[in-house]
């Protein structure tokens, strides 16, 4: 009976419900984790997963009341302040959270932060703690650990920061690692790296793992048991076969059939928003262009975009590739310094003043973070009527109905709604302005599967009903393929491939393929192709500054790839590619599953 953690009938409740409090409770949770076991906890947002982790560590907010039993190695944990519980935190149980940025102190070097954790749990000297920190970083596969230890959090990428957090968590060799959505805020490629790392650490140290996520796809990669949580209780538990080397995951929500796409087949209509050779730069740095086609390192470096009414264009790429900058340039939140931008035939770049304020309503943007996109002090109904420009209650009710929400929400504040509802209200607000173009910037990454599908279907309906042109930005190809007609893949500020979703078997740009190789659903076959070619999908670095952005890591590269940016060429009807090296050898045998 080697139970590490045993939870019985755990109830957590909060006193007093005002208009601002959603009922967050745990209603009788039973959970057992044995030595070395890996358990995944899945559930929709608001079901109490994070609350459970706080309860396990004795870190519930001051006004929470809890009853039930928590046993750690057979010992009861009752009083959060008692010594036994304090010792368990960090040494027995370690916690890794979702947001690497906010979990790290911005003014301390990361080596010092890890060393601090080491010293807190063992009385070693400062120097020794520091060297332990460096060896932990090395264990987490951080390149140049000694140097990186002197870096500050803002100098590191998201994936790197998460490794730092893992290093800190491992500092005292815990028996149980609780990872609360550790990869949700990361890119798909980095996500896989971190998950592989967690797996390795677990196996090396014989550590148990409680992995919390809302993304069911990730579960088989790390866990042997899956617990489903809903409404504050664990409602089901399944044992899974061993992860990772098995065949593809069966429940692939993002791979859902695109057969249902019913965007009206419009003939070659005039684009409502047209961008040619758009260049967006931050700050005043001027880079010199030589005679050869060059990139200048700007976040958007010569991009052409056509947005056609009734059609959806997908924009794919990792974060940092310039997608969001492009989106802001298209909606005139940023001003492009080069190229042209036309809205309904009119030069959008030159528009300013009150004409700009009038015209820009035509291009609406839906943001990624549902929490930040609504004014927390503004009642939903007022926000919608403000967006519409008229105080018309009937119209507000119609807008809410259009996004599938009841009219009574009009009197509420944003914090009284769930994330999915907030996202829908944001959509309603965009629609209230009667736009011609809708730019959705990662609208689904912060949502659970149900809300995600709902938003996507709402976008489709809005497109059909209103003849909107949609630009959907995402790093998730499953999402893109489900509603878009065409996908542009962006890397290093340029478009590297553009293909029709219906003909996606033709995808062949190495960068596109490697991004797809990282999607858990297509794990095996794409991974095999990529690694057969000598690449390690887990070692993806940033774009090369000159020449083809992938040149630094591409196994097909030739000498000219490093010097000159290849042109975007139409290699087949409707399929554009920026890579002369990828011939007809196309790995089409696995793309069908997407």
């Amino acid at each position: 009976m080697s139970d590490l953690l045993r939870v019985e009938n755990l109830h957590v409740s909060f006193p007093g419900h005002g208009p601002g409090r959603e009922a967050k409770v745990l209603a009788g949770v039973d959970l057992v984790i044995g030595q070395g076991e890996a358990v995944a906890l899945v559930g929709p947002s608001g079901c109490g997963k994070s609350l459970l982790t706080r309860a396990l560590l004795g870190l519930l907010p001051g006004d929470a009341a809890w009853t039930g039993t928590i046993l750690w190695r057979g010992e009861h944990l009752r009083d959060p302040r008692a010594r036994n519980w304090r010792q368990v935190r960090g040494r027995g149980m370690a916690l890794v959270l979702q947001e690497p940025q906010t979990s790290l102190n911005p003014v301390l070097a990361i080596g010092d932060q890890i060393a601090e954790t080491v010293r807190a749990h063992s009385g070693v000297s400062r120097r020794e703690a520091r060297s332990r920190a460096v060896s932990l970083l090395a264990e987490m596969l951080v390149p140049d650990p000694a140097e990186k230890a002197n870096c500050y959090p803002h100098q590191l990428s998201g994936g790197m920061r998460q490794r730092v957090l893992l290093a800190a968590a491992m500092a005292c060799d815990p028996d149980l690692l609780i990872a609360d959505e550790p990869t949700t805020a990361l890119d798909v490629t980095v996500q896989r790296e971190i998950l592989a790392l967690i797996n390795r650490i677990r196996r090396d140290r014989g550590m148990a793992l409680l992995f919390i996520t809302h993304d069911a796809e990730l579960v088989p990669l790390v866990a042997t048991r899956r617990a489903e949580m809903s409404g504050g209780r664990i409602v089901a538990e399944f044992d899974l076969d061993l992860p990772a080397d098995k065949a593809e995951v069966q429940d692939t929500p993002s791979g859902e059939s695109s057969a249902g796409v019913s965007t009206p087949q419009s003939k070659k209509m005039n684009p409502v928003l047209k961008a040619r050779n758009l260049v967006v730069r931050y700050g005043a740095g001027m880079m010199v262009r030589g005679s050869l086609p060059q990139r200048t390192g700007a976040p958007v470096d010569g991009v052409d975009i056509d947005l056609i009414p009734g059609r959806a264009l997908g924009l794919a790429g990792e974060s940092g590739c310039g997608k969001t900058t492009l989106a802001r340039a298209l909606s005139r939140h940023l001003v492009a310094v080069g190229g042209t931008l036309e809205l309904e035939g009119e030069d959008f770049l030159a528009t300013r003043g009150s004409r700009l304020r009038h015209r820009r309503r035509r291009v609406q943007m839906l943001f990624q973070d549902p929490a930040g996109s609504l004014n927390p002090r503004q009642i939903i109904g007022r926000a919608l009527s403000e967006a519409a420009g008229r105080d018309d209650q009937a119209q507000v009710a119609d807008l809410l109905a259009e996004v599938g929400l009841s009219g009574e929400l009009a009197g509420r504040y944003p914090h009284e709604l769930s994330g999915g509802q907030r996202q829908r209200v944001s959509l309603a607000r965009c629609l209230a302005a009667d736009p011609r173009v809708l730019i959705a910037d990662e609208p689904t990454s912060a949502l659970d599967r149900e809300s995600r599908n709902r938003i996507l279907s709402l976008l489709e309906k809005a497109m059909a009903r209103r003849g909107l042109a949609l630009l959907l930005i995402s790093h998730d190809f499953g999402v893109l393929h489900s509603i878009c007609d065409r996908v542009d893949v962006m890397y290093g500020g340029v478009i590297v491939e553009s293909y029709r979703v219906a003909e996606r078997s033709r995808i062949r740009h190495p960068y596109t393929l490697s991004m797809m190789a990282s999607t858990p659903a297509s794990l095996n076959r794409a991974q095999r192709w990529w690694s057969d070619a000598g690449n390690d999908p887990q070692k993806f670095r940033g774009p090369s500054p000159v020449g083809c952005p992938l040149a630094g890591q591409c196994h097909l590269r030739k000498s000219h790839c490093l010097i000159e940016l290849p042109p975007l060429v139409e290699v087949a009807e409707g399929h554009y590619l920026r890579c002369p090296e990828v011939g007809q050898s196309g790995p089409s045998h696995f793309i069908d599953t997407l």
Partner: protein, 292 residues
């Protein structure tokens, strides 16, 4: 309007434990109690603060008939104390109101407007900050006849800079939020975005800043009255009471002690209130958006 009252209402309904907060409760009790006192001064005070007593009653120690004693002219100290609260609170509130209005306007314009405006306003603010406040106040006040109105105006005109900086910083940060970008995207005018979206979200910060400044404004007023530059006779102020009593610390300790305690208690009350409000608002602001 709905948005603005919502901000204040949220302060107290976001979690119903505010009554138990160890800072908020005493802070509220003290400040509200004093407010009531000042308001009802004529009714509460035992007698007329200006009533002169006979020779026997002068400089009398605290006793049954005069709970806090009498001063040199036989006037009841308690009555004077109660009436003095009016002056202190009036000056405290009005000067802070002036400072906050001015500071918020400057800060909001600097934070939300074009860069050149930001630079201009911040340079102006820095210029004002370069002067030691008390000297500036003394200078302005001594240039003409002292009066309460002058004191309030001058304190307001020299106290706005901190608020401006605070508001500007908040505005700059709010400006980057998605909902402000959305408001711009909807074609709302710069004015509407600033007043309708940014300002309501600034209010908690402003309220806290104001509350904390009331305490120091009251202190400043007492200081000026002590120097004879504030409330003039027959208006009674705690500062002038201390000034009158300072030569009698041994024989008539009650003359300066009670006003001194009153000032200390008032400032403490406002500081507690301000701190209590700040604790409610900042962690809340960070927490609430997090639930996704």
């Amino acid at each position: 309007m709905t948005m603005k009252t919502g901000a204040v209402r949220d302060l107290f309904t976001a979690g119903d434990r505010w009554w138990a907060d160890p800072r908020l409760r005493p802070g509220l009790v003290i400040t509200l109690g004093l407010g009531l006192l000042a308001l009802l001064a004529p009714v509460i005070a035992p007698g007329d603060p200006a009533a002169l007593g006979d020779a026997a009653d002068r400089l009398a120690a605290p006793s049954g008939s005069h709970l806090l004693g009498t001063d040199l002219l036989g006037r009841d100290v308690l009555a004077r104390l109660v009436h003095g609260s009016r002056v202190s609170l009036l000056v405290g509130w009005v000067s802070v109101l002036v400072a906050v209005l001015l500071g918020t306007a400057v800060g909001l314009a600097a934070g939300m407007g074009p860069r050149w405006l930001d630079r201009f306003l911040m340079n102006t603010t820095d210029a004002f900050l370069a002067f030691p406040r008390i000297f500036l106040v003394l200078l302005l006040v001594s240039l003409t006849t002292p009066s309460l109105l002058l004191v309030m105006t001058v304190l307001g005109l020299t106290g706005w800079m901190g608020v401006a900086r605070l508001v500007r910083a908040e505005a700059l940060s709010l400006r980057e939020r998605d909902f402000v970008a959305s408001a711009r995207g909807l074609g709302l005018s710069a004015w509407r975005v600033a007043t309708g979206h940014v300002l309501p979200n600034l209010l908690p910060t402003v309220i806290v800043a104001a509350t904390l400044r009331v305490g120091s404004a009251i202190l400043a007023e007492s200081f000026l009255s002590f120097l004879g530059l504030g409330a003039q006779e027959p208006a009674v102020s705690w500062g002038s009471m201390i000034q009158q009593g300072r030569g009698y610390l041994l024989d008539g300790w009650w003359l300066a002690t009670f006003p001194g305690l009153a000032i200390a208690l008032t400032v403490l009350g406002y500081n507690l209130l301000g701190e209590g409000l700040r604790r409610r608002l900042d962690p809340r602001g960070g927490r609430e958006g997090r639930n996704e």
